[in-house]
């Protein structure tokens, strides 16, 4: 078997194992929550009615049996129907996922566009200068102010003075890209602050540590221009830790959009999941968490592939 094929096989097997573990954990967790589906749906109803509802959805069977049934259907691609709306869960997520992916993608893009230049620049210009001082301030602020605070401030300001942005209405990207951006940029910005801080600090440290490497001194000793040294040697080598942090950050965003989605009434999976948990809509929560876990695994695989492209030393070591 070729090393690539074996590597892929190992990755797929470990991904399946991870997903199974997540499935068991989340199944256990939502059923351990106080208050079952029928309690939340019909709190005042007599016991017979509750038993009837529980029986209808198979909630009266042992947990292991319920899990087995869910797993059997999930493997065949059937994530079940929402207990509340009776709609197939997969279709609901397919409708909402693009919205969350869009604001998460925008937030990541903003984090990279702001964080990388500021981080690299402040890494290059040493310690006691204006640029690093400013960018450390920006980074510290961005990381320490929670997104719901920034979100609330943005909501307040832009509800009073619209200034081109719209709040509380969501136009799908396919319908009207401009109108979509008017609604998507503010929540994306609120989400991106943490990312800006993370990317900035990581890019800064990576730049400083690459600058201390022998091959940078050797390049200077060969008479390369400072700009050439940065472009050819510093950026590429400093990119590796930045990719790691962006992969972690985007994975976090898939769950981390919840608060911002609630604040800005964005119809993404975050809001859907929150209501799923509140209503004890087991199939929705189960599917949502599985979806997020799958995304996380995919992002990590993508990051690993990017490392290998940037740093040939890692390419050979991944199969082991």
């Amino acid at each position: 078997m070729s090393t690539v094929a074996r590597y892929a096989l190992v990755r797929i097997a470990s991904a399946c194992l991870t997903l199974f573990g997540v499935a068991v954990l989340i199944f256990g967790a939502i059923h351990a929550l106080p208050g079952s589906f029928e309690d939340v749906l019909v709190p005042q109803a007599p016991q017979e009615l509750r038993d009837q509802i529980a029986a209808r959805y198979g909630l009266d069977r042992p947990l292991v049996e319920q899990f087995g049934m869910w797993l059997g259907r999930a493997i065949q691609g059937d994530l079940g129907v929402s207990l509340i709306t009776q709609q197939p869960v997969a279709a609901e997520f397919a409708r909402r996922l693009p919205v969350t992916v869009e604001i998460a993608g925008l937030a990541t893009a903003i984090a990279l566009l702001v964080g990388v230049p500021l981080g690299v620049l402040s890494g290059l210009t040493g310690h006691r200068r204006l640029v690093p001082a400013t960018s450390r301030l920006v980074g510290g602020f961005a990381m320490s102010v929670p997104d719901f605070v920034v979100g609330a401030v943005l909501l307040y300001v832009f509800s009073r003075y619209s200034l081109w942005f719209t709040i509380g209405e969501w136009t799908p990207l396919a319908d009207d890209p401009i109108a979509n951006l008017r609604g998507a940029l503010l929540p994306a910005f609120a989400l991106s602050l943490l990312g800006i801080g993370l990317v900035l600090a990581t890019a800064r440290h990576a730049t400083i540590s690459v600058l201390g490497q022998d091959f940078i001194m050797a390049a200077v000793a060969r008479g390369k221009r400072p700009g050439t040294v940065v472009r050819q040697h510093v950026l590429r080598n400093a990119g590796i830790p930045v990719i790691t942090i962006v992969a972690i950050y985007s994975g976090y965003l898939l769950g981390g959009t919840i608060i911002v989605e609630m604040l800005f009434s964005v119809p993404g999976i975050g809001r859907y999941l929150i209501f799923g948990v509140l209503n004890r809509d087991y199939t929705v929560v189960q599917a949502g968490v599985m979806l997020a876990a799958t995304f996380f695994i995919l992002l990590n695989t993508l990051a690993d592939a990017l490392y290998a492209a940037l740093d040939p030393r890692l390419a050979g070591s991944q199969g082991r």
Partner: protein, 320 residues
């Protein structure tokens, strides 16, 4: 032959948290075109500082004091911008201790070589350069990343890079210290024969006195930031005038007679904080007299050598 390098009374301090540290305390050295000069001395004697000063490659906390450093007729300390880059890229070539670390880990060898060659150099030029440094398997090596090379191969590549622009002087800072003992000789011979073939001068820093004796026309012994004895290698090693040279030779393995002992030099090299008012070697010297601690010895010419020792005249070697 003309003087390619003329260093006279060069003083360099490093600013540190504990105050200034004097790395060069009036070092003097001349290197003629095509000449091979060895620099020896314990760690901390100022060898590397002198070598890096030649290309103005001292770290930012270095402060140039008095004295002159001329390379190819220009004063290095006044060089800036394009003129400095031209000195580094066309007049000087550096070979460092850790060959793999001085190559960018993310770039193939061929690309790194092409970057130091004249614009328009193609794959054939890269191959012939690699063949020149004794890499027969040059197709494979050109496509390799640095981590795929052995230390010896990587050092051959570094030598090829240093020679690519046909410099006037190669500065080699412990070029074989990190290599297997079995290939040190090969690498040194390669360096020396290539310099001879191109008419390139060589400044070789090493702890390995035998290597210096084998490769270099002249040797400069450094102690406490000064060049305490400079002369023809064979003569200096056969009949050292400066007590430090004598002690260094006795402490070196490979020089002792059968049944003889290696005699380590007692004490530690000094860390100077300013101009030494006496002889820096005085506390460790077995030939010291009262004047050594009180008066700073100046350079005197003894038997066609420059020696910095109060007792140089009495220690004049017997005429051949």
């Amino acid at each position: 032959m003309n003087a390619l390098v003329a260093i006279s009374d060069l003083v360099v301090d490093f600013r540190t948290r504990q105050g200034p540290v004097r790395a060069l305390d009036g070092a003097s050295l001349a290197v003629r075109e095509g000449e091979k000069v060895g620099l020896v001395g314990e760690s901390g004697s100022g060898k590397s500082t002198l070598a890096m000063a030649l290309g103005r490659l001292l770290p930012p906390n270095a402060e140039w004091g008095s004295g002159e450093l001329m390379v190819a007729g220009v004063s290095v300390r006044d060089l800036e911008g394009a003129a400095l880059r031209r000195l580094r890229s066309h007049t000087l070539g550096y070979v460092f201790q850790d060959p793999i670390g001085t190559l960018d880990p993310t770039m193939r060898v061929a690309r790194q070589l092409a970057a130091v060659m004249e614009a328009g150099a193609g794959a054939a030029d890269v191959s012939s350069l690699l063949a020149d440094v004794g890499l027969q398997d040059h197709h494979r090596i050109a496509r390799s990343y640095p981590h795929e090379l052995s230390g010896g191969m990587a050092q051959r590549v570094s030598i090829a890079m240093a020679l690519a622009a046909n410099p006037k002087l190669i500065v080699a800072d412990e070029p074989t210290a990190s290599l297997d003992a079995s290939i040190r000789g090969q690498i040194l011979d390669l360096l020396v024969s290539l310099c001879a073939a191109h008419g390139t001068a060589l400044v070789l820093l090493s702890h390995d006195l035998r290597a210096i004796a084998h490769c270099c026309d002249r040797v400069a012994v450094m102690y406490g930031g000064r060049t305490v004895e400079v002369g023809a290698t064979a003569e200096v090693f056969a009949e050292p005038v400066h007590p430090y040279t004598e002690a260094l030779l006795r402490a070196a393995p490979g020089q002792e007679r059968l049944g003889g002992r290696i005699e380590p030099i007692p004490g530690l090299p000094p860390i100077l904080t300013g101009r030494a008012e006496g002889c820096a070697f005085e506390p460790r010297c077995r030939h010291r007299i009262d004047a050594c601690a009180l008066a700073r010895p100046e350079s005197s010419e003894i038997a066609a050598r420059q020696v910095i020792c109060h007792r140089a005249e009495e220690r004049r070697p017997a005429a051949p």
